[in-house]
C-alpha cells in the first residue's frame, strides 16, 4: 500500500528537465546544456571534468590577464540573461578595481521568481559546476574575493546540488587558495533567501544579502562602484554566468557564430514555453530563434485552442500577438515591438482567456510583491488590481480605463527606484493597447458601489 502511494506521490513530483535528448546536443552548438544527462541526474565533478570541465578556468588563469576575459565577453556581445539584456562585458568593465580599491564580491542572482520562468533551476540542479566555473571567471575578471549564490528559498534541490558541487570543487582545488596554481583565491557560498520577488532586483538583492529588507537602492552608485558592504560588487544571472566558460574557451567569433545571421546578439539561449500547450518545456536554441519555432517545439496549443497573445519572457514583459511569432526573439527586436525579451520563456495565452482576468492575476502578483518603497508601486498597484477586478465583474465605472492608463504611466521607467513598477506597467499597457475592447466591456452604464469595497488583494 505504501509503495503505491509513494509511487503516486513521486509521479507528480516536479522535476526540471530539458526536452532535447543528448544525441541532439553537442559542445559546439549547445554550450549551456551539452553535458546534461538524459536521465536528468546532476553532472558531478568527475563527469564534468571528463566533459572538458574547468578548462576555461585553466586557460584564463594560466594566461593571467583578467582584462582579456572582459574584452572577449564584450566582443562576443554576451547580453544579460536575467531579462535586462545588458552587455555582460560592459558591466564587468565598469567594476572598480586596482590601486587601493578593496577586492569585492561576485554575486550570482539565482532568485528565479519571474512568473513563467524555470530555466536557472535546470542549470543549477543538473550542472552546478558550469555555474561555479563561470563564477570563478567572473571573480577573476572583476577581482572579487568572494562569491555568493543568492538562491530563492524554495529552490531546496538547487541548494543541495550546489552545496555538494561547491565542496567537490573545493576538495579538488578549483575553489579556495591558489586556484589551479595561479595564485588567485576565491570561494563561494550559497545564500538561501526567504521569499519575495523583489530580491531579484540587484540592489534589493544586495540589501537582502546584507540582512536587511529587500528595498532597492538609488543608482548611482552602481553595484560595480559600491555594492555589498560598500565594496565593488558584480551581480549576474545564472544563465549569463553559465555562458562565460565556453566564450572564454572557444572565443568570441565562435560564440557569435552560434546565432548565425539570425541576430547580432551572440550565443545560444534557454528558451521555453508554458501555458496550455502540448509539450511545455525548455530547449537550448540559437539566440534569435522565432516564437513560432519555439511554439512548434512545444507542439502548439492543446485542447483545440488558438493563440490569442503571448508574453515573450515573463510577467514583466509586454504582450505580443500571433503576428509577432515570426520575429527573431532577441533583445532589440522584441524591444522594438513594445515588449522585452525578458527571460525568453514564453507564456501562451489561449483564445478562451479573458485578458481582464489575466491582468487581474498579473497585477495582483505585482501588488503583493511590491516592497512598498515607492508610492506609485505601493499604492498604485493595489488600486490597479481593484479596478481590474471591478471590470472583470462588469462593475467598472466610466473613466476606469483612463485611470488604469494613468496608474500604469505613473509606474513607468524613471519614476520609481527600481524596475518592479515599470515591469508591472508593461503588460498592462500592452493589454490595454491590444485588447482595449475587453476592458471596455467591463464598464457598467452607471456608477455603482463597486469601488467602495475593500481592496481585495490576495483573493485572486
Amino acid at each position: 500500500m505504501t509503495t503505491t502511494i509513494n509511487s503516486q506521490r513521486d509521479s507528480i513530483r516536479y522535476r526540471s528537465r530539458l526536452l532535447q535528448p543528448e544525441k541532439e546536443r553537442s559542445a559546439g552548438t549547445h554550450p549551456l546544456t551539452w553535458r546534461l544527462r538524459d536521465d536528468g541526474a546532476a553532472v558531478w565533478l568527475d563527469e564534468y571534468l571528463r566533459k572538458d570541465g574547468y578548462q576555461s578556468v585553466r586557460k584564463a588563469l594560466g594566461q593571467g590577464d583578467p582584462r582579456a576575459i572582459i574584452a572577449t565577453l564584450k566582443e562576443a556581445n554576451v547580453r544579460g540573461r536575467g531579462g535586462a539584456g545588458f552587455s555582460a562585458g560592459l558591466k564587468w568593465s565598469l567594476t572598480l578595481q586596482g590601486g587601493d580599491m578593496p577586492r569585492g564580491y561576485l554575486i550570482c542572482n539565482a532568485d528565479e521568481m519571474e512568473p513563467g520562468t524555470f530555466k536557472d533551476r535546470l542549470l543549477m540542479e543538473q550542472q552546478p559546476h558550469l555555474l561555479i566555473e563561470g563564477m570563478i571567471l567572473g571573480a577573476y575578471a572583476n577581482n572579487a574575493r568572494f562569491g555568493y549564490i543568492f538562491l530563492r528559498g524554495e529552490y531546496l534541490e538547487s541548494a543541495r546540488v550546489l552545496n555538494r558541487a561547491l565542496q567537490e570543487a573545493r576538495d579538488a582545488g578549483w575553489l579556495g587558495p591558489d586556484i589551479d596554481g595561479s595564485g588567485f583565491d576565491f570561494d563561494i557560498v550559497v545564500h538561501s533567501g526567504a521569499g519575495r520577488y523583489i530580491c531579484g532586483e540587484e540592489t534589493a538583492l544586495i540589501n537582502s544579502l546584507e540582512g536587511k529588507r529587500a528595498n532597492p537602492r538609488a543608482k548611482p552608485p552602481f553595484p560595480g562602484q559600491s555594492g555589498a558592504w560598500g565594496k565593488p560588487s558584480v551581480v549576474n544571472n545564472v544563465e549569463t554566468l553559465c555562458n562565460v566558460p565556453a566564450v572564454i574557451l572557444h572565443g568570441a567569433d565562435w560564440y557569435q557564430g552560434l546565432s548565425g545571421d539570425r541576430t547580432d546578439d551572440g550565443g545560444s539561449k534557454l528558451y521555453g514555453v508554458s501555458g496550455p500547450v502540448h509539450r511545455p518545456g525548455l530547449w537550448e536554441l540559437p539566440m534569435g530563434t522565432t516564437g513560432q519555432e519555439i511554439l512548434d517545439l512545444a507542439g502548439g496549443l492543446r485542447d483545440g485552442h488558438t493563440l490569442k497573445a503571448w508574453l515573450p519572457g515573463g510577467a514583466s514583459t509586454g504582450f505580443l500577438l500571433p503576428e509577432h511569432l515570426e520575429l527573431p526573439l532577441d533583445f532589440d527586436t522584441v524591444g522594438k515591438e513594445g515588449s522585452r525579451l525578458g527571460t525568453g520563456l514564453l507564456t501562451v495565452v489561449p483564445d478562451s482567456q479573458s485578458m481582464v482576468a489575466l491582468m487581474g492575476n498579473l497585477e495582483a502578483f505585482f501588488a503583493r510583491e511590491s516592497c512598498g518603497w515607492c508610492t506609485p508601486c505601493r499604492d498604485g498597484l493595489p488600486w490597479t488590481v481593484k479596478l481590474l477586478q471591478a471590470l472583470e465583474q462588469g462593475k467598472g465605472e466610466p473613466g476606469d480605463i483612463e485611470l488604469l492608463d494613468k496608474l500604469a504611466a505613473d509606474c513607468g521607467p524613471g519614476l520609481t527606484f527600481c524596475a518592479h513598477a515599470p515591469g508591472a506597467a508593461m503588460p498592462l499597457q500592452t493589454a490595454l493597447k491590444h485588447f482595449r475592447h475587453e476592458f471596455e466591456q467591463g464598464i457598467s452604464r452607471s456608477r455603482g458601489p463597486a469601488h467602495q469595497d475593500a481592496i481585495p488583494l490576495g483573493s485572486v
Binding site: A194, G211, R213, S274
Partner: protein, 170 residues
Amino acid sequence: MAATDATTGIIGSDAFRLHADDEQAMRQEVHHFEQPRAACIEALKIVQRRHGWVPDGAIPAIARVLGVGPGDVEAVATFYSLIFRQPVGRHVILVCDSSSCFLSGFAELKQALVTQLGIDYGQTTGDDRFTLLPVCCLGACDGAPALMIDDDTYGPVTPGDLPGLLEEYP
C-alpha cells in the same frame, strides 16, 4: 500573552530560550559575511526549523546573537514571506498562483484545496495539520499547476491527486 521585560523593555520576550545548537549554527553562519547582521535571514530560518515559526521571544534573542537591535530583526522577519511570525500547521502548503499556473488550472486546484482542507489562505486547519499560503511563481511552469508541501515541489497537480498526496503528510 505578550509581556514587557522590565530590564530590556522588549515586548513579548515570554519564556523563549534560544537552543544552544541554534545559537551555535547562527554564530557559524556569521562567518560567511563581512557583518554579522547579514546572517539575520538564516538565523530566523534556524529558529523556524526548530519551532515551525518564529515566536516573539526569538526576535530579541537573535538580535543579541547578531549584535543588532530587535527592531532590525523584526523588520526583516516581517518582510520575507517564508518567515512565519504566527504559528503554522505541521505542514505548509504553498500554492503557486502566478501566470502560468493561472493559465493551467490553478483556480480548480486552489478550490479543491479550500474544499478539502476547509481553510483559505493564511489559515490553519483545526487539527494544526496544514497551513495554506499563496506563493509567487515556483519556477515549475512546465509542470503547472504547481504547489509545494514543506520541502517537496509537485506539478502538474490535478484536484484528483490531492487526497492521496495530502495523506502523505500526517
